[in-house]
């Protein structure tokens, strides 16, 4: 177990390094420098600026500087927001994204697992059809279609919630985005849970438990639910990755000042350093999430020996 954990942790390093390196090189492939603007800067000022940002050094040295800064948690300066460092911008945006994403993830796991259990135990019931329907709708109606429809119905027609924006974690502004993100994840978790529980309920040890005369409740809660949850855990990694994509769309739809909105705006402004810093940050986040899910899986499933 420990050797697996160690190997799994070490294996994330090349992924992260490759992403940083490729992104960094792509950035430096672009013609022109950061201070080539219409307004000519005098040669002395330019030299000073370049020295400050180490732009006068050879590329490999700049790259090492960048890595060194990253290791110290410094993502550099933003190109467009002159007085802001990328760190400042991230510090303001990250809590927004994490609160929306985290809350919706917890809600989706709870609702998804519950729906999956009911659907598996009562196949062809209303709940079962509902889980199927969620899956069908989720695969055909992407979040950027459902999101605006939510706004149209709940913000414009019945006026229960604001159409978007943010106000210091006021729940009024958080509910619709969370609903949208949850909706996407619930269908996946629900379907996986349903499938795996049906499979577990057909195994011999569950039959034995039934033969002993245990009530269904005990069978499910004590015996079936643990093995049935394993596939759900394994799907959480990919789900976390796709949630990042979904979060970018959600933040754009509801104009929330989160990481996703920051990155899309940065791309629109061609704010290279900001986008690079955010890409590095979020990739590391995604890789770490994946790592945690894999480790959790290894702990939870005693059958797996690496």
């Amino acid at each position: 177990m420990w050797s697996y954990a160690l190997r799994r942790i070490l294996s994330t390093i090349p992924t992260i390094l490759v992403v940083i390196t490729v992104c960094y090189l792509m950035l430096h492939l672009t013609p022109g420098g950061p201070f080539d603007s219409e307004r000519k800067v005098s040669a002395a000022v330019l030299a000073n600026l370049q020295a400050k940002y180490h732009l006068d050094m050879p590329l490999w040295k700049q790259y090492l500087y960048y890595l060194n800064n990253l290791l110290h948690g410094d993502l550099g300066a933003s190109f467009r927001y002159a007085d802001w460092s990328v760190n400042d911008l991230v510090a303001r945006a990250l809590p927004v994204s994490l609160s929306i994403g985290g809350i919706s993830m917890i809600i989706s796991i709870v609702i998804g697992v519950a729906l999956g259990i009911v659907a598996a135990l009562k196949q062809n019931s209303l709940v079962d059809y509902f889980v199927m329907l969620l899956g069908n709708v989720g695969s055909a109606f992407p979040s950027f279609v459902i999101g605006p429809v939510l706004i149209l119905v709940f913000a414009i027609w019945v006026k229960w919630f604001p159409a978007g924006g943010w106000d210091e974690f006021s729940p009024k502004y958080m509910i619709l985005p969370i609903v949208l993100l949850t909706f996407i994840n619930v269908s996946t978790i629900g379907r996986v849970m349903r499938g795996s529980l049906i499979e577990v309920m057909n195994t011999n040890f569950i039959r034995t438990a039934r033969a002993k005369g245990l009530p269904l409740r005990t069978i499910v809660m004590r015996h079936a639910i643990r093995p049935a949850l394993l596939p759900v855990v394994s799907v959480l990694g990919p789900l976390a990755i796709s949630s990042i994509t979904a979060a970018i769309v959600t933040e754009t739809v509801f104009s929330l000042p989160g990481i996703g909105k920051l990155i899309v705006n940065g791309a629109g402004n061609r704010d290279y350093t900001l986008v690079l810093g955010l890409v590095v940050l979020v990739t590391v986040l995604a890789v770490v999430l994946n790592l945690l899910v894999d480790l959790a899986y290894a702990i939870l499933d005693p059958k797996i020996r690496y």
């Binding site: 994330t12 090349p14 992924t15 490759v18 992403v19 992104c23 792509m26 950035l27 492939l29 672009t30 069908n136 695969s139 055909a140 109606f141 992407p142 950027f144 279609v145 999101g147 605006p148 429809v149 706004i151 149209l152 414009i156 990919p238 990755i241 990042i244 994509t245 970018i248 769309v249 754009t252 739809v253 990155i263 899309v264 940065g266 791309a267 629109g268 061609r270 704010d271 290279y272 986008v275 690079l276 955010l278 890409v279 979020v282 990739t283 995604a286 890789v287 994946n290």
Partner: protein, 302 residues
């Protein structure tokens, strides 16, 4: 033997012969596919959508970029053939939806072809050669899985600007891994078959074994996973366009139209309704066709 019996024997014989006249895997699959009503209806609808996108703009009286000064931001009406209404610039929404569909479908098609080819070559090579090559190639796949593709797409668009071929390239880079994994798994099982051994024995070079003997035997699974790739790729393109990272104005795609529609949703809801419906119908049909093909081609389901 009576006359009646003779006739019966004849009938039986012909029916037996008809059965013996064997059916290939593909013919079998076709018969099963066409028994699946949802899949057939989806195929018809999707074909109609594609034909409308291809030929609609040629037939309709409006152009996708010209302003109709007499009808700006009007709702759907039969007047002057603005069946889907117009946007706030007076451009006909029906024609724009069809042109947007062209872009979305063409990008979807190209990116699918690219990612499927890369996936097949990558997976078959890794699976067939095996050993260190295999583990390195599969590590690359794992690595790409761990990266949220949208971020890299955003970075690429930030750096290289927005254009058609870049969008295709970006989408392709991040959608071939499923195919590679599946193809690799299948290749591993084909590799140990006798006909491969025979090919090796008579000295066929490795790359020819891969492309002439392994790849043709992968086609069933490739078709199934291609149908999963198509809606995924179309969706990715729409997400990029929706975020303003796809094709540029006045050119359009479904994602761009949905984004435009979102901004003016309160006043003119049809502007998001029609492109959104077009995208959703396409995705829905593509999913059902995929399900149908999977049921038709999956040998486990006999």
């Amino acid at each position: 033997m009576t006359k009646k019996n003779a006739a019966l024997v004849e009938v039986l014989q012909t029916s037996v012969e008809a059965q013996i006249a064997g059916r290939s895997l593909w013919k079998d699959a076709r018969i099963r596919f066409f028994r699946n009503k949802a899949a057939v209806i989806s195929l018809v609808v999707l074909t109609l959508v594609a034909l409308a996108c291809a030929f609609g703009p040629m037939v309709l009286p409006h152009s996708y970029e010209d302003t109709d000064w007499n009808a700006m931001g009007i709702g759907p009406s039969f007047h002057d053939w603005h069946l889907f209404g117009t946007d706030e610039l007076g451009r006909d929404l029906l024609v724009r939806t069809l042109i947007g569909g062209r872009i979305s479908l063409v990008i979807g098609l190209l990116a699918t072809i690219a990612s499927v080819s890369v996936g097949i070559v990558w997976g078959a090579t890794a699976g067939f050669i095996g050993g260190k090559v295999d583990s390195v190639m599969m590590r690359v796949v794992d690595m790409l899985y761990a990266i949220p593709y949208l971020l890299i797409a955003i970075l690429m668009v930030t750096i290289f600007g927005r254009n058609f071929s870049l969008v295709v390239l970006t989408i392709s880079i991040f959608s071939w891994m499923d195919m590679a994994r599946v193809v690799r798994g299948q290749t591993l099982s084909i590799k140990s078959k006798e006909f491969i051994e025979a090919a090796r024995a008579i000295g066929v070079p490795t790359w020819r074994i891969i492309f002439q003997h392994v790849v043709p035997n992968l086609l069933g699974i490739v078709v199934i996973y291609t149908t999963v790739t198509v809606p995924g790729v179309i969706l990715t393109e729409s997400v990029l366009s929706f975020l303003g990272l796809g094709v540029q104005e006045p050119m359009t795609s479904w994602g761009v139209l949905i984004e435009d529609g979102t901004n003016v949703m309160a006043a003119t809801p049809w502007m998001i309704l029609f492109p959104g419906a077009a995208l959703s119908i396409t995705l829905y049909c593509a999913n059902y066709i995929g399900d149908g093909l999977r049921d038709a081609l999956d040998p486990k389901d006999r």
